[in-house]
């Protein structure tokens, strides 16, 4: 069994983001990391590796710097690494097309990915890749197990936990689970540097990045919060209570 994990390198949540010319200024970002939901997907894949003997292939798409996320994945145990090297920006359809082609090339049986990336939050990659591969997609899962030739995913729903069984290839989109993410150890880090990264261009995969379908027009800072209101003296108490109840809806 082979499990593909789609990994996106995103700015670390502690990194300061600045915007230049309607897009995020990537040069100003000091620290990049694996998108947190993808880390849960990777953890689930590594569990399939240890419990069911699956091979884990980590796939990322992005510029040269994003190979670091593959090395990080190798340091915790990913067996194979595929980097779809693409320095440009493109719309989500062509990105999904390139990822789907990489998955096909990896010959993986199932695909695990985060439910959304921490930077764009669009949530379209997992279902988009599933669509292009002609596979079903199960979203918001926290666990996937291999049981008697099927894959059983656990999903948290508003009324409790749901178990979904899939009897064939599938894309699973991961939410934050209860699993503690494994920490790379030094041995893993030293082994990771020896692991080859298969670097492929979109052209190598026979994919055009021209027609992205959905494109980000521009990004901007969130609107500044309006100034707070100040109240003084006991006489204002009833007004404060009214506002807390009717405007803030907190009491």
């Amino acid at each position: 069994m082979k499990v593909a994990v789609l990994i996106k390198q995103v700015p670390d949540t502690t990194a300061r983001i600045s915007i230049a010319g309607g897009s995020v200024d990537e040069g100003s970002i000091s620290k990049w990391t694996i998108s947190p939901y993808d880390e849960y997907a990777l953890e689930a894949a590594l569990k399939l590796q240890s419990e069911s003997g699956a091979k884990v292939v980590a796939i990322t798409l992005g510029p040269q710097r994003s190979s670091k996320s593959l090395i990080d994945a190798a340091a915790v145990g990913a067996d194979e690494l595929i980097h779809v090297l693409y320095e440009g920006s493109s719309g989500s359809l062509s990105l999904q097309g390139a990822l789907a082609a990489a998955v096909r090339k990896s010959e993986a049986d199932i695909v695990l990915a985060g439910k959304q990336a921490a930077d764009t939050n669009s949530g379209s990659t997992a279902p988009g890749v599933a669509q292009m591969l002609g596979l079903p997609c199960v979203g918001l899962v926290s666990e996937v197990k291999a049981v008697d030739g099927n894959f059983v995913a656990t999903r948290s729903t508003s009324s409790g936990m749901e178990r979904v069984s899939v009897n064939g290839p599938c894309v699973f989109a991961f939410d934050k689970g209860d699993e503690e993410l494994r920490r790379p150890n030094v041995r893993g880090i030293m082994m990771a540097k020896k692991k080859p990264i298969e670097s492929l261009s979109p052209a190598d995969l026979g994919v055009s990045m021209e027609d992205g379908g959905v494109n980000v027009e521009s990004v901007g800072y969130p609107p500044e919060k309006p100034a707070g209101q100040t109240f003084q003296g006991a006489a204002s108490a009833s007004e404060v209570v009214t506002k807390l109840r009717e405007e803030a809806n907190v009491i």
Partner: protein, 390 residues
């Protein structure tokens, strides 16, 4: 606000990719497992057992040693690990220094094949804790006059004497103990539970409170003959261990200083007095600029010493300079950081007073500040000034 490590000259860009990855792993671990727990551990005066397990799990104990389950990293990587650990607390770094440089190293360098195979894999994984017994109640800077002695007795050695200020002593599974056999200093491995051996904890410390400090007491302590370290005689044994530990401290002190700087900078930016953040005042800026200056110099010293350690082109005096300088400036930076924090600086909400108290110990252990000056003095003049006797 997360921790931002000051690296004004981007010294870490000189590290290898693996060294940076190891740095990030240890830094994240400190953020997640040390910072939220350290103040409570200090109040209770305990070294958390989960730290031992997790340090072992990361595979960083005995970092520069090769083989026998040891990580086999560069000395530079070992330094980076020490720096990141000490950013959390000097006590955590002390645990790792003692385990790796003072207990594992002598077994690795001077031990028999059987000793290496018996102890090193478990020590690297954190299952076995080691300690190092050199200092005695009456012999600190002058270990050569130690009174702890070993005598042959049939197929055993009998140890008598006492060691003091022994990090990890009470929690250790084994101790590397230096004692005189027929007047010559030799290393012996004493195991927890050996007849006549006890390791009572020293209480009442105002410093390194999250680290275990102990006495080691040997009363007709009987150990098998195969526990002597065959590969070394004389002070060269313990001193070669100390060289490695002191090297790690020169990096570790940078971490403590970076932590103090980070706290002082962010406090100065947010503390408003006379309608402005105190960071807007020249006196405070002067202090921050001085801290940045000294930390940058200390980083460069530590890094270059790491390069020399890795190439083998070093002398002990190089280590003395870096240990002495970096601990000295870290302690002063901790004091100035406390000053910038005003009254808040004495609270355990901020790390500065804890680092300050820790660094008082670090300044004294592993060769006091003054002894390192004397080592340099001897190097410069060719005249030793340790004793009045030639």
């Amino acid at each position: 606000m997360g921790y931002e490590a000051l690296d004004f000259y981007d010294v870490d860009s000189l590290l290898t990719d693996e060294e940076r990855m190891i740095r990030d792993v240890v830094r994240d671990w400190v953020d997640e497992s040390v910072i939220p727990k350290i103040e409570n551990a200090c109040r209770e005066g305990v070294f958390l057992d989960e730290w031992r397990q997790e340090l072992g799990g990361m595979g960083i104990l005995g970092a520069p040693l090769k083989g026998y389950g040891c990580p086999g990293l560069s000395y530079t990587a070992y330094g980076v690990i020490c720096r990141e650990l000490e950013r959390g607390d000097s006590g955590i770094r002390s645990f790792a220094s003692v385990q790796g440089s003072l207990a594992m190293y002598p077994i690795w360098d001077f031990g028999s094949e059987e000793q290496k195979e018996k102890y090193l894999p478990g020590m690297a994984s954190g299952e076995l804790i080691g300690c190092f017994g050199l200092t005695e109640p009456d012999y600190g800077s002058n270990p050569g006059d130690m009174v702890t002695k070993a005598e042959e007795d049939d197929d055993h050695y009998i140890l008598n004497g006492a060691k003091m200020w022994i990090t990890n002593g009470t929690i250790a599974d084994l101790a590397v103990v230096w004692a005189k056999l027929d007047g010559v200093i030799r290393g012996f491995i004493v195991e927890k539970g050996d007849e006549g051996f006890s390791a009572p904890e020293m209480k009442g410390k105002h410093s390194l409170k999250a680290s275990v400090t102990s006495e080691l007491v040997f009363q007709d302590c009987k150990i098998p003959k195969d526990r002597i370290l065959p590969g070394v005689k004389g002070l060269r044994g313990p001193f070669s261990c100390l060289n490695n530990a002191r090297y790690g401290i020169s990096w570790g002190a940078v971490g403590a200083a970076q932590s103090c700087f980070d706290s002082a900078r962010s406090y100065a930016m947010s503390r408003i007095q006379f309608d402005h953040p105190i960071a807007a005042y020249q006196l405070v800026q002067n202090k921050l600029a001085w801290m940045l200056r000294e930390i940058t110099k200390a980083q460069l010293l530590a890094y270059h010493l790491g390069v020399k350690k890795d190439s083998g082109e070093w002398v002990p005096e190089h280590i003395s300079l870096a240990k002495m300088n970096n601990v000295d400036i870290a302690l002063e930076i901790a004091r100035v950081a406390r000053d910038i924090h005003g009254a808040n600086g004495i609270l355990d909400e901020y790390p500065v007073m804890r680092h300050m108290a820790n660094l008082e110990s670090v300044k004294t252990y592993e060769g006091t500040h003054d002894i390192h000056n004397l080592i340099l003095g001897r190097h410069i003049t060719g005249i030793q000034a340790f004793t009045r006797e030639a």
